[in-house]
Amino acid sequence: MNKLFQYVPGNSLIHRLNPVTKIALTVVICAAAFITDHLLFLVCLLAIDLLIGLIAGVAGRTWSIFRGLVKIAAFLFLLQVLLTRAGNPIFWIITDHGLLTAGKVVLRLIVVCMPLTLVLAVTRISDLTNAMVQVLHVPYPYAFTVSTAIRFIPQFLEEMSGIMEAQTARGVAFDQAKGFKKFSMILPLCAPLLISSVRRTDQMAVAAEARGFHLRTRASAYKQYGFSTGDLLTAVFCILLLAAAILL
């Protein structure tokens, strides 16, 4: 769980792309998923997601993200199918329209979530920030906020599991509860979690200020983010994908 958002070092075609290109590809895939209304096209997008993961050499990560998403999707699918009234009944209260809509909804969910997590697996967060500042002219404080939020996720999860461990040792039966019961036990622990987060944010702000955070500008990064043939090809691919989504 903690590793879900961690960078996987590598030198694949995807790794070497300009971070901005990767963001663009992600955005285009998401946009295409929302524009299109064809089930088949969504399946194609899913195949593209998986293929990207494969090319980037992070097949294991891709698979575990996919598996996690499928679990959530299955639940949503069931809910959607059971609650949709429109269309022709096929079996019991299930309708053809319900099945189709549900299928599209969950596919969209998976298609959109995959590249968002994959981009973090193939790009260093610092590169992501720097490229956003340098190429897209995003003001540094904003880029920093986004990247810090992402960086906080694993720390947050680690803190959470640390707190749960400490509470288990005190006799709160986390290790015996399951499902909803466990969830209701977690709620009271939000206080320590919140406090540690606020404390950490505070410390980080002071540390950043002490290191001249406010002096930082676009010109501060020494690394240049150029565009290569791969980036060009990806851009062409993005345009084609978007066109296909709109026209089909």
């Binding site: 288990t168 040792a169 005190r170 622990l189």
Partner: protein, 276 residues
């Protein structure tokens, strides 16, 4: 009370952290786990409470294999003080915090008995009970965490660096309370500690670790006087001990500044007598 039998342990996707660890702590023993950073001390005490399960070998607490029971079910018997007290504290007042711990492990005693118990502990730790834990200093929060563990009256106390970051007075305060538990109620104590003066003052047994292995286990003074062992474990023995070893000539046995002073005085007197 705590027994490790050929315990090995490895964190996921990492080489083994603990290898072939075997030792036993008797009931009422006060043991300190010492060693350099990354030696595996925290991992060892986590294994001792079953927060981690050994990859091979077994850990027995009071004859019971940690793999066969849940950590939370053991909370009444085993109190665990973490390095970071903030993970343990989750209520708005110190009284609530102590009651929360009591309600989870001693719910059968009835509310009024628990209230009385909480008041007793509050007095013992000189808290009024209405303090807000998160507004207290780190050392005081550490004492809040300790108080809520003490309240449950465990038979085993496992402490991961209980005194790190505390001032001298706070440190003595906490350690004295731990010692009282140990002496009056025969509580078994297993403590990770980087302060060798504290170890010398309070612990009776030392477990010396390095690189995930147990180098030696024995009486604290004996372990500290073993220069080779201390070198191997990258541990600096307490100054009194080093001084005694350096002086030799009967001074080695002095293990407190007072004893050292006595030895010096006695030596002087003897020299004075032989001069005349």
């Amino acid at each position: 009370m705590i027994r490790f039998e050929d315990v090995s342990f490895a964190y996921p996707d990492q080489g083994s952290s603990i290898r072939d660890l075997s030792f036993e702590l008797e009931r009422g023993e006060f043991a300190a786990v010492i060693g350099a950073n990354g030696a595996g001390k925290s991992t060892t005490v986590r294994l001792a409470d079953g927060l981690l399960r050994p990859s091979s070998g077994r850990v027995l607490i009071d004859g019971e294999d940690t793999r066969n029971s849940q950590v939370s079910a053991r909370a009444r018997k085993v109190g665990f003080l973490f390095q970071n007290p903030d993970r343990q504290i989750c209520k708005n007042t110190v009284r609530e915090e102590i009651l929360f711990g009591l309600r989870t492990v001693r719910s059968e005693e009835g509310e009024s008995a628990l209230q009385a118990r909480a008041e007793r502990i509050l007095a013992e730790f000189s808290f009024t009970g209405d303090e807000e834990p998160f507004a207290l200093s780190r050392g005081q929060r550490q004492r809040v965490a300790l108080a809520s563990i003490f309240a449950a009256e465990p038979e085993v106390l496992i402490l991961d660096e209980p005194t790190t970051g505390l001032d001298y007075r706070e440190c003595c305060h906490i350690m004295d309370q731990i010692r009282r538990m140990n002496e009056e109620r025969q509580v078994t104590v297993m403590m990770v500690c980087h302060d060798m003066e504290v170890v010398l003052d309070y612990a009776s047994k030392a477990l010396v670790m390095a690189g995930g292995r147990l180098l030696a286990a024995g009486p604290v003074r004996e372990v500290f006087r073993n220069r080779e062992l201390m070198e191997k474990a990258s541990v600096l023995p307490p100054q009194v001990i080093s001084l005694g070893l350096r002086l030799g000539d009967g001074y080695e046995t002095a293990d407190t500044p007072e004893a050292m002073a006595e030895a010096v005085l006695a030596h002087r007197k003897k020299e004075g007598a032989s001069d005349e």
